[in-house]
Symmetry: C2
Subunit: 250 residues, 2 copies
């Protein structure tokens, strides 16, 4: 038995997100499990670093799976890439210690959100950007972003139900930059709640459009009222870029 | 009546190419004619600068159409972009003289062919590159390209039937460059025969793989024998980048 760590890229457009769900096999996890199970001759369970929603992409999703195969990691990678659909690929596979777990041991993640600010839509980026079509005031967005960075209870910026699980997370940085006809928001933190990046993005966009004052972010944290947070930005602008681990855990 | 010149972008993946064909409406020309005819309240014929094959893309296809609408060019552009499928867009529309014709008056065109040389396939470029997965010797390809530049009878590098139409064309330049994990071939010339860019690319790739000597290109011109030319490169690596006109013709 060996434990394989995979780094994956996918275009999420065609899929119902990362996570296997009841009846549908149309998920990234489902596709990967099907190919690995065929290779291993028995069911192989794949653990992702976390879910991505339907339509969300990944440049560096991480997953691990325990397998019995005699193949080495390069052979596994080649096999998997041969049989996965063309919009999913393994870009790296390596053997890691048996106690490595891609979700439980992740120490931080980076997400990127792309917003097209130019009025005209663009054919080639259509599945990868939120086509806002309006200019954004980056300096007020950066003021808002500063108020989001740090350790906070991000419950109001999520679609979580209040429960026993902590909704406290730490965002270590939010970079906001103009990249040609797009604004990119790059979020790094120790964990992100359900829909959190998309709601943070929607809130910062309302700030950037001048529809709200960046200081309102303090009120949202204080009141813990989800209705005060912004609209959720659409899925297709979002991509999981990197998942980081302590080197000693691998 | 006015004559409108359009510059178009499209991802060709889902379409049966530019040109309307008998039963199928699944062409770029067909989609554009449908939207313009709806706007104009009568059938509007669209003239493209030339065909692109199924799966071939455009960053700057040119077309023109004569219309009766009272709308100005910005209104026409907005209307068309609202109703065209998301993988086709008008990036520019302007009124030109009634004698402008996008095909008959084109003086030169530029095509780009993208080849992915890295072994691993790539999710995000999958519909836009030929995934060769092998390294290419650029210096021998450039030697071959030099022999192609100039005025020649390109019949053996085409899928044309011998007929009354001239198959003599002039290629003014072929640039070959490594762009990260890809090799790009950029062809500029006064006209390109059916399948010509794809067959030239296939031939130059055989040179770059060391399967044939660049000097064989002289023999192919001399013998005018299609069977001596290389394989046709796949459609999805090709894109029409620009169509050029004499300024005075517009």
């Amino acid at each position: 038995m060996k434990n394989i760590k995979f780094i994956l890229q996918y275009e999420g457009t065609r899929y119902d997100g990362w996570q296997k769900q009841g009846n549908t096999e149309n998920t990234i996890q489902g596709k990967l499990e099907a190919v690995l199970s065929r290779l291993d001759g028995q069911f192989v369970e794949v653990h992702g670093s976390g879910r991505t929603d339907a339509g969300v992409h990944a440049y560096g999703q991480t997953a691990n799976a325990k397998m019995n195969t005699e193949k080495n990691v390069d052979e596994i990678k080649d096999y998997v890439n041969r049989y996965l659909p063309k919009d999913i690929a393994v870009i790296d596979a390596k053997e890691v210690s048996m106690r490595f777990h891609s979700r439980l041991l992740a120490v931080s993640k980076t997400y990127r959100y792309r917003i097209r600010t130019k009025k005209d839509r663009d054919v080639f980026s259509r599945n990868f950007v939120w086509h806002l079509g309006k200019n954004l005031d980056l300096s007020s967005m950066k003021q808002g972003a500063e108020l989001l960075v740090g350790e906070h209870d991000f419950f109001p910026f999520s679609s979580m139900k209040r429960g026993k699980k902590s909704t406290i997370r730490t965002i270590t940085s939010i970079q906001i930059e103009q990249v040609r006809e797009e604004v990119h928001l790059i979020f790094t933190g120790n964990g992100f709640l359900y829909h959190m990046v998309r709601i943070l993005t929607g809130t910062l966009v309302e700030v950037g459009l001048g529809e709200r004052d960046p200081k309102e972010i303090n009120d949202i944290f204080l009141m813990q009222d989800r209705k005060r947070a912004g609209q959720m930005a659409p899925a297709q602008g979002l991509a999981l870029m990197n998942v980081f681990y302590d080197k000693k855990e691998e």
